[in-house]
Amino acid sequence: MSRRPRRPRGARAAPPHGSSGGPDRRQLLIAAAIAVVAVAGLITFANAQSAPPPPPVASGIRVAGSVMGEPTAAVTVDEWADLQCPACRAFALGTEPQLRTAYIATGKVRIVFHHFAFIGQESLWAGEALECAGEPNRFWDLHDRLYAVQGGENTGTFSKANLEKIASDLGLGPGFNSCLETDRYLQRVKDDTNAGQAKGVTATPTFFVNGRKLEGVLSFDQLRAILDPLVK
């Protein structure tokens, strides 16, 4: 009687071609360990990099309402922005602090903020709030604060009640609240937005550097390449 060869107990038949001899447990453990260490390193590195640097308006920089910098500066950067726009936030928190230190504080450049409040109702309220903060010349302090706390679009972050709370943290009091509640600067914000549209602004942020139009989040290097020939 012929007998078919029997597999040793516990062994498996060789699978069809292609999957024969899968990786052994040791190889997989090494691959998993490398993957876990790589991701942990990446996350640690990302967190170390992303500590939010608050961009305070450096003392000694001249601010007057929505204008920051010396009136005699050789270059004027006009910025059209919406306080709810994440790209504007990226510029305000990423590039602008360096712009302030290197060009505005040294008197070479001044920046003028213009409202382009197109994302929704809370864009208008936030814009109004900046103008109200401008009355005691705290425009830029609130500007920085609002970008720092920016949340989802029209989700209550820049409701009037919340704006008053944020402003109160900056020491802005009842004068600010009544200014905001009575929409004292609503028309100003709308006028700015209309003026931007008339100048061809279609996205935010849009910059005019001595009249030259630039769209999008400018890195500091990009901005430096544009500014240096103008400030010399």
Partner: protein, 137 residues
């Protein structure tokens, strides 16, 4: 074999999604704060960069490697290191996707639909890789 083809297709989807997000990052489309999605919020957040590298580029790199490995495994009798490599890359991708999803939900407060597509593709390729490993054990 069907799993391997599915892995290639899913890695290709992830690659296309990451390529789109990379293009958005570098093209300045970020400036256009239009549309209802949270992509702009997520991409403009400070978590969109790891050092000098946009997260989208890290995703693109991971999918390029995953697609190359998955594609190479379509050949008959692929060497085992391809499956080990695919396991390592997709495990790393899945862990990082989980971290990014946590950030979107609990830190940034906005979910980017394109990121969800890309993250899901990575998780799906990882699951297929696990199934392959089970089949070859």
């Amino acid at each position: 074999m069907n799993r391997r083809i599915a892995a290639v297709a899913l890695a290709a989807i992830g690659l296309l999604g990451s390529a789109y997000l990379t293009w958005v990052h570098y093209s300045g489309q970020l400036a256009l704060c239009l549309g209802a999605g949270g992509c702009e919020t997520v991409q403009a957040s400070r978590y969109a960069m790891v050092g000098p590298a946009p997260v989208a580029v890290l995703g693109l790199a991971a999918f390029v490697v995953a697609l190359a490995l998955a594609r190479a495994r379509l050949r008959p009798d692929p060497p085992t290191w391809l499956l080990t490599g695919l396991f390592g890359v997709t495990l790393a991708g899945t862990l990082f996707a989980a971290y990014l999803t946590y950030l979107e939900l609990f830190v940034i407060g906005a979910v980017c639909p394109w990121c969800v597509v890309v993250d899901s593709a990575m998780v799906a390729v990882f699951v297929l890789t696990l199934l392959e490993l089970r089949g070859s054990a």
